[in-house]
């Protein structure tokens, strides 16, 4: 089996790869976005804490 044949998926390449691609994007976003939000919330709370300490 060569790679071109593998990616062609017996003529169903565009269906198979768009399905796997969509799933991969949704799964990766589900890790990246919550991690980013967690960092943002941490940062925000740190700034709030600093403001409180100054008061």
């Amino acid at each position: 089996m060569n790679w071109a044949e593998f990616f062609a998926m017996g003529g169903y390449g565009k269906f198979v790869w768009s399905a796997y691609g969509a799933a991969a994007i949704i799964i990766i976003l589900n890790i990246v976005l919550p991690l980013r939000r967690h960092k943002k919330v941490l940062q925000m709370l740190r700034e709030l804490l600093k403001m409180k300490e100054r008061e």
């Binding site: 998926m9 017996g10 169903y12 399905a19 796997y20 589900n30 967690h38 941490l42 740190r46």
Partner: protein, 244 residues
């Protein structure tokens, strides 16, 4: 050992922080094995050719879309009954992850439907009830976002989740109760599966990978929930002052 002590946010937060990298690595390794087996090793289907390989992500994500809903509704019920904060946060964290699994099941199913059925979409019982599931998740999230007081928001959303549980058996049995384009289950808990082991293994390994991914994603979201909901507690100040 008293397991309820882990339900205290102050205990849960650092513990989850330690667990997340392990779950993330286990997810990556499991899904890599499942992908290699599903895309390279599993043989070509004699009826559907290579297009059937979409099944290896479609079926596990459809299973997870229902499982996550049951987890979410159960956590909501526990929160309603015992007013436990961590179960409220679990329900909240489940919703976007469950919606994502539902979306994956709908998208991959739709793409698979085009070459096999000749259409991306039909309004039949299985597809429609799965779409209703997506709207239940979105409704849960919208309802919770629309109420300012987090405890009242969690209670209202939990009631919505519980009412929506009725949709789960409808999805499951839809292929038996109604005439549909969708094929009935190939893997059943009661009888032997009607698919060959060479195709069953990548399916089950991907399903395991999706469970691990669910754990990873939910733990990350729950930690953020803990930070937001417990921000006035003194232990939060201790944690954010020192650790990332």
């Amino acid at each position: 050992m008293n397991i309820t002590k882990y339900a205290a946010p102050v205990v849960f937060y650092p513990l989850a922080g330690k667990l997340i990298p392990w779950f993330a690595w286990a997810t990556a390794i499991t899904l890599a094995v499942g992908l290699i087996m599903g895309l390279f090793i599993a043989p070509t289907d004699y009826q559907q050719g290579e297009s059937y390989r979409i099944m290896f992500i479609h079926v596990p994500s459809a299973w997870m879309s229902m499982l996550v809903y049951v987890v979410m509704a159960t956590a909501g019920a526990v929160a309603l009954a015992w007013k436990t904060r961590l179960s409220e946060m679990l329900a909240t964290a489940c919703a976007p992850v469950g919606a994502s699994f539902t979306l994956i099941a709908l998208i991959t199913g739709s793409i698979w439907g085009k070459p096999m059925w000749g259409t991306y979409w039909v309004w039949d019982a299985r597809l429609t009830s799965e779409l209703v599931l997506l709207f239940l998740y979105l409704g849960f999230m919208a309802l919770q976002a629309s109420i300012d007081d987090p405890r009242r928001a969690a209670r209202a959303a939990a009631i919505l989740a519980l009412v929506g549980v009725i949709n789960i058996p409808i999805i499951h049995f839809s292929v038996e109760w109604w005439n549909t384009l969708h094929q009935p289950a190939s893997v059943s808990k009661i009888s032997a599966p009607s698919i060959h082991p060479s195709m069953l293994w990548p399916l089950l390994i991907n399903a395991a990978g999706f469970h691990l991914f669910f754990a990873t994603a939910v733990l990350i979201r729950m930690r953020t929930e803990v930070l937001i909901r417990e921000r006035h507690k003194s232990w939060i100040a201790d944690i954010i002052g020192t650790k990332p």
